[in-house]
């Protein structure tokens, strides 16, 4: 079920009611576990078997790994866990993609091979919960911590409904310790949790679905070129939509969990105020980027094996990060572009560091003119130059979103060429209302991200008088009511 549904409202009221009863802690956890299975099963009941399989296998594999001293045996148990999780992910998510490319490869070699198109339905949330369970077995293998002795705690860690289908991707240390002692939300946590749930719904329902989705869908669905204004409006609409949709889901998840007394890790930190791509990935889908850093980039060698390997590792991490989002070459290109921008940024930073290291301590006033360059070094500390760099980052991020959203490579190129005016006489497609709406939302989004860049909604709410907070809260919910159901599903469910 999705957070923006009447079913969830009823479900949440019942779960909250059960959780606040004076029941033993173990019973409350069993309630939460059963509720989480129900939450998942109401999509497609048979897929719950995959969730159980992943939970049971990883629980026992971690125990076997921890109890084994022989390196080869430990590797064997880890391999069982990796093969199961990555195998499930590969079959359900990449089965069709692999077969399609295999067929194309054979075709290129002159071998005619006509495969039956597999009719595989992607189980909701599989990309997320396989990463959750994988981090557990990998951390036990690395002896970061001992395996969790309680199956109930482990199963609840994997299945806990707020994060189950679209993250945040939790780590064992985020959640398992919280299940060990009885917890109920304080009054403040409950109120703040409800506020966050409202904020998440506002982002998803009112902004992403209500104001942006239609424009983005129109422009990305066209098979012919449009005018630059239309192309940019469509891309900016998607840029806002993907943020509000995904950050909206994460905010709902964090809010719902807080109402039950559990905290989930932050997943977004005002990414459209990022200065540079490394900063962007510290702010966008934080739990995925840290997962990729800890379980892919660092094991590949991270920053330790020299300059060439740093760039190679960055590219591999981002390519696989792109592929994680979807089984299509457009996602690989999206990842490659992010990898490329990260490499360029690192090169520029290294160059700047070297230049500073070679510079004399002090420059005399009369030497200043001779040292000035055509492109003066941009200071990130100055608010205006920082904002300029943030806008540059936002611009480049938007370019990458074209590949993320376009259904085909050809469609992405068509739109990019239209954006930069390379294709003349594109068709005007959008109304003034649509263009104005997207422009206002984009300005509001980038502006609010910049203002909150080093702060938080919580800090802002503490500064507001109670009636100001109430007014803002009511405005968001009224916007949700006015938008009503929206599209229902969240974009990241398909990943």
């Amino acid at each position: 079920m999705v957070f923006n549904s009447y079913t969830f409202v009823v479900f949440f009221v019942v779960v909250l009611g059960l959780h606040s009863l004076a029941l033993p802690w173990r019973v409350k956890k069993i309630n939460l576990l059963l509720a989480s299975y129900l939450f998942y099963a109401l999509w497609n009941p048979p897929f719950i078997l995959l969730l159980w399989l992943s939970t049971v296998v990883d629980f026992y594999m971690a125990r076997l790994i921890a109890g084994e001293q022989r390196p080869l045996q430990r590797k064997l148990w880890l391999t069982v866990s990796l093969v199961l999780n990555l195998g499930m992910l590969s079959y359900f998510k990449y089965g069709g993609f692999l077969l399609e490319n295999f067929t194309a490869l054979l075709g290129a070699m002159g071998i005619v091979f006509q495969a039956v198109k597999p009719d595989i339905i992607l189980p909701v949330g599989i990309s997320f919960y396989t990463f959750v369970t994988l981090s557990y077995t990998l951390d036990v293998y690395r002896r970061k911590f001992a395996p969790e002795p309680s199956f109930l705690n482990f199963a609840l860690f994997v299945t806990y409904f707020p994060h189950l289908v679209a993250g945040p991707i939790v780590r064992p240390e985020d959640l398992i310790p919280q299940f060990k002692t009885p917890r109920t939300a304080t009054r403040e946590q409950l109120t703040w949790g409800l506020f966050l749930l409202s904020l998440g719904l506002f982002l998803k329902v009112a902004i992403a679905d209500g104001l942006l989705a239609e424009t983005a869908d129109t422009i990305f669905g066209l098979p012919f070129p449009v005018q630059p204004l239309d192309a940019w409006t469509g891309v900016l609409a998607f840029s806002g939509q993907i943020f509000c949709d995904f950050a909206g889901y994460s905010t709902c998840a964090i809010g719902v969990s807080l109402c039950l007394g559990f905290t989930l890790p932050e997943n977004f930190r005002y990414p459209y105020a990022a200065i540079g791509f490394s900063d962007f990935w510290r702010r966008w889908h934080i739990t995925l980027s840290t997962w990729l850093r800890d379980y892919l980039y660092i094991p590949l060698g991270g920053n330790r094996l020299g300059a060439f390997r740093i760039y190679l590792n960055l590219m591999i991490t981002m390519l696989l990060g792109g592929l994680w989002h979807g089984a299509s070459w457009t996602f690989v290109i999206w990842g490659a572009l992010h990898g490329l921008f990260l490499c360029v940024e690192r090169l520029a930073r290294d160059w700047q560091t070297n230049r500073r290291a070679n510079r004399p301590e002090r420059i005399a006033d009369d030497q200043m003119i001779s040292r000035a360059s055509v492109l003066p070094g941009i200071s990130q500390t100055h608010p205006l130059s920082g904002f300029g760099l943030a806008l540059l980052t936002f611009f480049l991020v938007n370019v990458t979103w074209v590949f993320f959203r376009a259904p085909t490579f050809g469609g992405a190129m068509l739109l990019l060429l239209a954006m930069f005016g390379v294709i003349p006489n594109g068709a005007p497609m959008l109304s003034n209302v649509a263009i104005l709406t997207v422009a206002l939302v984009t300005v509001g989004l980038v502006g609010s991200h910049w203002l909150l860049r080093d702060s938080s909604v919580l800090a802002l709410s503490r500064k507001l008088p109670w009636w100001g907070l109430g007014l803002a809260w009511a405005t968001m919910l009224i916007a949700v009511i006015l938008t009503q159901k929206g599209s229902g599903s969240f974009i990241y469910f398909q990943f």
Partner: protein
Amino acid sequence: MKPANYAKAAWLTFMLILTFVVGWESYWRNQHYELSYNDDVNLWAATRQEIYQSSPARPVLIGSSRIKFDVDLPTWERNTGQRPIQLSLVGTSPRPVLTDLGNDANFAGTVIIDVTEGLFFAPIGSFPEKAANERVKAYPRWSLSEQFSFQLNRLLESKLLFLDNELLTISPLLKKLPIPDRAGVWTGPKFPDDIEVVTPDRQTIWTARFLADTSLQNQVKHTWLDIMDHSPKDPLPAPLLTRIMDETKHSADQIRARGGRVLFVRTPSDGLVYDGEKHAFPRAQYWDRLLVHTQTPGIYFADYPALSQFHCPEWSHLTTADAVRFTEALIPIVRQKTGWPISQRSATTLTDSTLSVH
């Protein structure tokens, strides 16, 4: 902020929302808007679930808006004892739905296909197929959660007027802002507000306001002309038309092979709309050929005095009262034309004039 202040903020929020909902609902009621159900993916899917109970007395209706207006479901039920299953979609070609029914191995019911030529013969993959394709694709994935939400929403929709997705949400309200369109941009047909309502069984009915107001009717007439202006002018390429005919025949054959029944119906239109349709889709090349190619019976309204006596207030759809009379006249013609075992329940008599053909 102290916890107590959070509680105060929450109470203020609650009071403001309550005030807004009451005020918003009252406002639209005072504007004399009529209650309408959202004709969305969920309502279509809920109706689609019923197709396995289909019979000649309870046909599945597929088509576009005309059959949603013109076949009055309560009248059909009063005459045959069963209410049809309405799967037609406004502004949409029925072909994707026909393909879906043909591919459904469990479906062996009766299908009546409404033919509005401009939509039925729309090119494969074109815009008029979009809404139908979306629904056909979404139906097998209609989750238990969505079904439960649909039932709750239906309950609320039956009481609250402002839960009207078509007219009273942010997106349509923004489109009503007095901001002129860009030059060269056609953003689609602009129908006046509050002219039709959708019933829980997906029939569409004109509002009393529309039926009483000829200026509204004229606005809709202008909208049809606008749509015709923006429609393709070239005739359908011959290979594409043949492919459409072949695919239609294939689906009809699939249904018939399982013991099902298929019938085409051409519901009334008049004025410039009918003239335009006759010009763009000559009967011999489209309707007559469709019946021959698919070896399927068909009822063309103009062939029967009992079906061609009506006047469409905006050239394309019947009034509610005429839909009742049209349905009463249609049932015996269907029976006579097809021999389907449709039981007779009402006092409607099969007179010669009802069944006569021009």
